[in-house]
Symmetry: C2
Subunit: 423 residues, 2 copies
């Protein structure tokens, strides 16, 4: 039985769960892989964590450098989060010839390019299973299980918080703020929930998937990212009547060498399995060749589930089966203005004769063709919602049309537009 | 770049697709893994296949021994199917120091015990990703991605043919025979569909999952296996009214050291993602610790999708990352008579006063408690269906009760009982 020693930087929920799971399931692990993983030392900048480490039977330090310099430690497990100084620690560990496991999506989305190329030069492994979709073994599935597959399209519910909020809004007919509060009360959303609800967390994960599937580390600011804070209960209910659910999707498509990457609220047909992903679950739907369409679904966060992904990386690397690091490739990222989609559009219009004619005229002048129209209520002279579904149209044209339409006197308040994806 | 040479035994749909995919995606594979896979020779007992081999640019033989004896071949890929002589070829290849990749579920379910222990003794790898759920990277996910996880429960739609039939029956309101014919017409069911519709194919895959998750190779005849040929449209529609769908599930649960393994038609709540698995898709729902609940869904069959799984095994093994072979463990398999479940029961009873009292009396005498009763139609003196859902009851008691009830004069035709699983 081979013994491998690890050092853990960051003793939060995940770190603690990793240590506990390593102990609890050590028999199981060694039955599957002739290997013993020993936690040599844990580190946290918060010295009060020494107590927790002691309870867990682990040697403690508040200096990451101590772990990095320890010649007995084979693998550094970075679970502290944040970009600085986590990235420096990882790079130093690689330079010292150590392999690295990390759950740090923000860091990889920002500095993955440098970190992976350094690891490649140093002939080291990086495990990052926990950085996307928590407990779902997605990274290994794509890199190993689907090693011969072109990933044509990725549709991911990569953020549990926003999925929970949208699910609760629909299920309990409550508005965004109420649902957000529920998520916060249940520990599913942070007190400052910006990263989640504005789609940034999903964006980080999408960047990692872009590297994994296409070899391309995109610049985050080149990726269209729209969160869910402007999704109203009204739109959720209207979408439902049209047999759609609204989900925050991270999307990647590769066509003719161009990468279409976005994070956006999306109308997903109720016939599609992604529409049924409830609560805070994560899920990824892949269109591949030759493996066809695949769905993965599971817990996207939480210390205990995530510990499974971290340990799977530790075991893979410790048994010499870490992922080979692919070379970076050049990629052209599509500008959102050039993207094409079908649209759900809601106008708030005065119930006057001729309103529809005015809207239609503008749409048609920009080559946007209407697939269906529903006026939700009749209420002469008052403001009523008009729901339109369009055929495929260019984003740029839709933006222009909406600016023009919203400036009409009969239109009250900004129009809502949500893209539809035919998954 | 490392070159690895393989020999393929069996040039059917999967074999052909493997050769084509290896060529088509060779660039992709080598970008992910510094490796070149060369098909040294293919073999089929049908000499007419020489033509196909030629078209594919492959050297051909009709003698498997030639591949096994070839010192240049590192990996034997067995895609011929059947138990004899495939098992002999695999064992000989292992004895000659070759690694093996196989998609042969019937063989592994029957002889996995000997094959894996031989491979372990010879320090060889066996890749069997394609043997369960076709293109879904389930085997690697469980053995590597979930390496630290106890798999508490497995619920699998492991057979596409039966899922297609049940799906079509519900969707188009047709009976079993019509749906079977559709499946046959679409190439989704064999002309002699026994292995699929009676649950044997799912049973084979369940045996493999039992080894993978619990280290136990069960005897097939110890596993309760019930197919779908007795499922009527009536039951599908009644189940639907009660918010359930009927799915053929392969089930494994481990509790207190006892393994509960079965293949059975099952009522699955429409709230559960497995109920939405449509057409011929396969899916597996796992309850694990610490990774929580996970769903995998994808193409379960077909040459092209399955080639992805075969190639992933070839690449893993060729790059020295094949799965470590776990030791066999002893397992106690639960007798179905001792199993407990909730039940859907349909009686065909004469519409007479007192019928329900008679049925209830028998059920209660055997400690079976009724959760709900629906009499579908009123038709005095004629035969009408009565639908009951029970609380959890012992299989043995339910069988006794139904035998007794079916012998009542007011009951016409045998009763139907389908287990409900609260996934």
């Amino acid at each position: 039985m081979k013994i491998k020693k690890i050092g853990i930087i960051g003793l939060g929920h995940v770190g603690e769960a990793v240590i506990k799971s390593l102990r609890k399931y050590s028999g199981l692990i060694s039955r599957r892989t002739p290997l013993k993983i020993v936690v040599k030392k844990v580190c946290d900048k918060d010295k009060a964590k020494r107590k927790i480490a002691k309870k867990l039977g682990c040697s403690f330090t508040s200096s990451p450098q101590e772990l990095i310099d320890d010649p007995q430690i084979d693998i550094i497990v970075e679970l502290m989060g944040g970009i600085k100084p986590a990235g420096d620690f990882i790079q130093e560990a690689l330079k010292k010839g150590k392999d690295v496991v990390t759950a740090n999506k923000a860091l990889l989305a920002t500095s993955g390019k440098q970190i992976f190329s350094l690891a490649k030069r140093k002939n080291r492994s990086i495990g990052f299973e926990a950085s996307v979709c928590g407990a779902i073994p997605l990274i290994k599935s794509i890199s190993q299980g689907l090693v011969s597959c072109e990933v044509k399209k990725i549709y991911g519910i990569l953020n549990g918080t926003t999925n929970y909020i949208l699910y609760k809004m629909a299920k309990e007919r409550i508005d965004f703020k109420q649902a957000l509060r529920q998520a916060q009360d249940n520990g599913l959303a942070e007190r400052s929930p910006y990263l989640d609800i504005e789609g940034k967390d999903a964006l980080h994960k999408l960047c990692i998937l872009s590297y994994l599937c296409y070899g391309v580390w995109p610049l985050q600011n080149k990726i269209y990212t729209e969160g869910i804070s402007k999704i109203s209960l009204l739109d959720i209910l209207y979408a439902q009547e049209l047999n759609y659910r609204i989900k925050l999707l991270a999307i990647a498509k590769k066509e003719k060498g161009v990468l279409d990457l976005r994070v956006q609220p999306t109308l997903v047909s109720m016939e599609h399995p992604l529409s049924h992903v409830s609560l805070a679950y994560n899920a990824v739907y892949l269109h591949t060749q030759p493996a066809g369409e695949l769905l993965f679904r599971g817990e996207g966060a939480g210390g205990v589930p995530t510990s499974s992904a971290v340990i799977s990386d530790i075991v893979s690397i410790a048994s010499g089966k870490g992922m080979a690091i692919r070379d970076e490739e050049k990629g052209v990222i599509q500008n959102i203005k050039d993207a094409r989609a079908r649209y759900y559009i809601r106008f708030m219009a005065q119930d006057h004769p001729g309103v529809l004619a005015k809207i239609s005229k503008i749409l048609s002048s920009l080559n946007i063709s209407i697939a269906s129209v529903t006026q939700k209520e009749r209420n002469k002279g008052r403001v009523v919602p008009i729901i339109m579904l369009t055929h495929e149209a260019r984003e740029d044209s839709v933006r222009k049309a909406l600016t023009e339409i919203d400036s009409l006197g009969v239109i009250k308040g900004p129009s809502q537009r949500i893209r539809i994806e035919d998954l």
